[in-house]
């Protein structure tokens, strides 16, 4: 796959947006500004970025509880995202969804999801709609290693395969489902081997290598667009933070995090840029500062957005019914 320098810079920008958005979310959560659960994507940026860079605006993705990175990479708006994390009326979900439920139908983002494994089958439905309408769109289904133990994973892969649906399954294998390491939740090391059970191509790649992800997903997307069916791609990666903010990560062996931090996907790209004259260090610094500004803007937007009105709680349950409220 040929990538232009502009595309490369775009991908780098996306990774920076994700990293800085997440660091900010981490701080704001610690300050008590974000309620509920927050699952951060720091360390895994290359997966969403490389995969979504192979997609068009009219393609679809399904996401997970750890969804900020997927949403940013698919073109999600940082202001609306941050406002949603803060539970504000200008947030993507008007404050009703929060971190775990951000969606943007216009950009094909079929939602982050609080139910582990739910996306596998939603992606099937998306693939069915595409095939039914005979367009050349695709759906990328993002999911974690531990979700592949849900029956939905097997149902989804089977149906995608037997109906030859344009779905690319992108597994982000970060080695854990909360505290349970992959060794303890399944008796395989490469999840991609499961593709063979459904007679579809399966491949394991370095999920911290932006180019490898982009290439593998790009090829799978091309096959899917041509009607050649689904692919399973396993990206080996690692989450730097706990499962959710507040998790003390007692289950991690000493040194594991540090070893993975050395494989940080972002400096790898920077190094490539400098060595191959894609960007200078100065340009890199400038871009970093620009993204810092975007995040500050998003914070301001979130802080200034009004809290949702109580009546808004009664809307959107249905398209055509407003529920009854209460007087206190």
């Amino acid at each position: 796959m040929k990538i232009t320098n502009e595309q490369l810079k775009d991908m780098y920008l996306t990774m920076l947006k994700i990293r800085k958005f997440e660091k900010n979310a981490m701080d704001k959560f610690a300050e008590g500004k974000i309620p509920g659960f927050v699952h951060l994507y720091i360390g895994e940026e290359a997966c969403a970025t490389g995969a979504c860079a192979a997609l068009r605006v009219d393609d679809y993705i399904t996401s997970t509880h750890r969804g900020h990175g997927h949403i940013i990479a698919k073109g999600g708006d940082l202001n609306y995202m941050m406002a949603e994390l803060f539970g504000k009326s200008d947030g993507y979900c008007k404050g009703k969804g929060g971190s775990m439920h951000i969606a943007d139908a216009d950009k094909g983002i079929l939602g982050a999801n609080g139910i582990v494994g739910a996306g596998h089958n939603i992606a099937i439905g998306s693939g069915l709609a595409i095939k039914y309408r005979k367009t050349d769109q695709v759906c990328v289904c993002f999911f974690g290693d531990a979700s592949t133990n849900q029956s939905t994973f097997h149902e989804g892969l089977n149906l995608a395969s037997v109906w030859k649906l344009p779905v690319v399954f992108v597994c982000e294998n970060n080695g854990y489902g909360i505290s349970v390491s992959q060794k303890r939740h399944q008796a395989i090391t490469d999840i991609s081997v499961r593709a063979s059970a459904y007679n579809m191509p399966g491949i394991t790649i370095d999920g911290n290598d932006l180019f490898a992800v982009h290439e593998a997903v790009g090829e799978a997307v091309e096959r899917a667009r041509k009607g050649q069916g689904p692919t399973l791609i396993e990206c080996k990666t690692y989450r730097w933070r706990g499962h959710f903010e507040g998790d003390m990560t007692v289950y991690r062996p000493d040194g594991e995090l540090e070893a993975w931090m050395k494989k940080d996907p972002i400096p790898r790209v920077e190094k490539y840029f400098i060595e191959n004259n894609v960007m200078t260090q100065d340009e890199i610094n400038k871009l970093n500062a620009e993204v810092d500004k975007m995040i500050e803007e998003a914070n301001k937007f979130a802080v200034n957005s009004p809290a949702p009105s109580l009546e808004s709680a009664l809307e959107d349950v249905y398209s055509d019914i407003v529920e009854e409220g209460r007087v206190r």
Partner: protein
């Protein structure tokens, strides 16, 4: 008197039964060394080891199914779902298997299993992690359903549930886990299922409730007392079997009923209790039966919206007052 948290009550009951009975084991997501998502099983893995405190993969169908199958083969499994919301994923094993086996097999099988399900809102966890679904399970013949409000009851009811020969859905309220309540150590023993508890005596109105709403009802009762209304608060503790006698007695005394739960009001279990009271004790009533519950919406994320959706003490107080206008 000693104080104990709700989580400790649950943990100590599990510990006691596991010490006493080698056929008792615990499994679920992250219940091992991690101690459970809410820390309820902290320390049990250290005491009982991998065999008896097992981390499962994220496979709710397998978690509930393993409880059904192992109970059918003579173990006494305690299975934990991380949130009651994930019951949907294991629902077939509970509703079509666990609840039906004894009946379908002509009474020839016992299923001494407990399914622990953290429930309710209040933590900003939004629509897929905040539900109260007890009406789903009370609706299904073959399941017993328990919902304690404090450490003493959690301990005593869980002790009984573990030995019960039927599948018991043990609903826990996640806002209560860290709530400390008085515990009478001499009374730390099994509590029979189907026995309500009078949380507060009163003469003018019966507030019938369970779980977290017991505390809201007590708060409301205090406010009402200042206005000269004496409210009785009945903590059902066990939703099925349900203590009809305690309900009849309270209604016979106060002649007014307010039913409270955290479920969204449409299709809530309180509706069924209201219907039973209307059918059987109608002539004891001198006012309509009132119900307080969550609004008929999913639970929203933003803190203000969530508090608006979920019922609170003020809602109970207003419902009671409406009966005295």
């Amino acid at each position: 008197m000693k104080k104990m948290t709700y989580a400790e009550g649950i943990r100590e009951a599990m510990r006691k039964k596991m010490q006493e009975d080698p056929s008792v084991l615990l499994f679920g997501e992250d219940v091992g060394k991690f101690g459970g998502c809410f820390g309820v099983s902290a320390g049990l893995w250290e005491e009982f080891g991998d065999d008896r405190v097992r981390d499962t993969p994220i496979s709710e169908g397998a978690i509930v199914g393993a409880a059904v199958g192992s109970a059918a083969c003579g173990l006494k499994p305690i299975a934990e779902l991380m949130f009651v919301d994930f019951l949907t994923v294991g629902m077939d094993q509970l509703v079509n298997q666990a609840a039906k086996m004894r009946y379908m097999f002509g009474g020839k099988i016992n299923l001494p299993m407990v399914l622990r399900v953290p429930s309710g809102g209040g933590v900003g966890a939004a629509a897929q992690h905040s539900q109260s679904l007890e009406a789903w399970v009370t609706h299904v013949p073959g399941l017993k359903v328990v919902y304690p409000s404090n450490a003493q009851d959690a301990y005593g009811l869980l002790m009984t549930a573990i030995d019960d020969q039927n599948p018991v859905v043990f609903v826990e309220n996640k806002m209560l886990y860290s709530a400390k309540t008085d515990v009478d150590e001499n009374e730390l023993k099994p509590i029979p299922l189907g026995k309500a508890r009078i949380a507060k005596d009163g003469t003018d109105v019966s507030i019938i409730t369970y779980g977290r709403q017991v505390f809201d009802a007590l708060t409301a009762a205090e406010a009402l007392a200042k206005e000269g209304i004496s409210a009785e608060v009945l903590d059902l503790r066990s939703l099925y079997p349900i203590d009809k006698e305690a309900i009849a007695q309270s209604v016979g005394k106060t002649h007014k009923v307010v039913l409270v739960s955290e479920e969204c009001k449409r299709g809530a279990y309180t509706g069924d209790i209201a219907a039973q009271i209307a059918e059987e004790y109608f002539y004891d009533l001198d006012a309509p039966i009132k119900r307080v519950g969550a609004l008929n919406t999913p639970v929203a994320f933003a803190t203000d919206l969530e508090s608006y959706i979920l019922p609170n003490a003020r809602d109970i107080e207003l419902a009671v007052k409406s009966l005295f206008d």
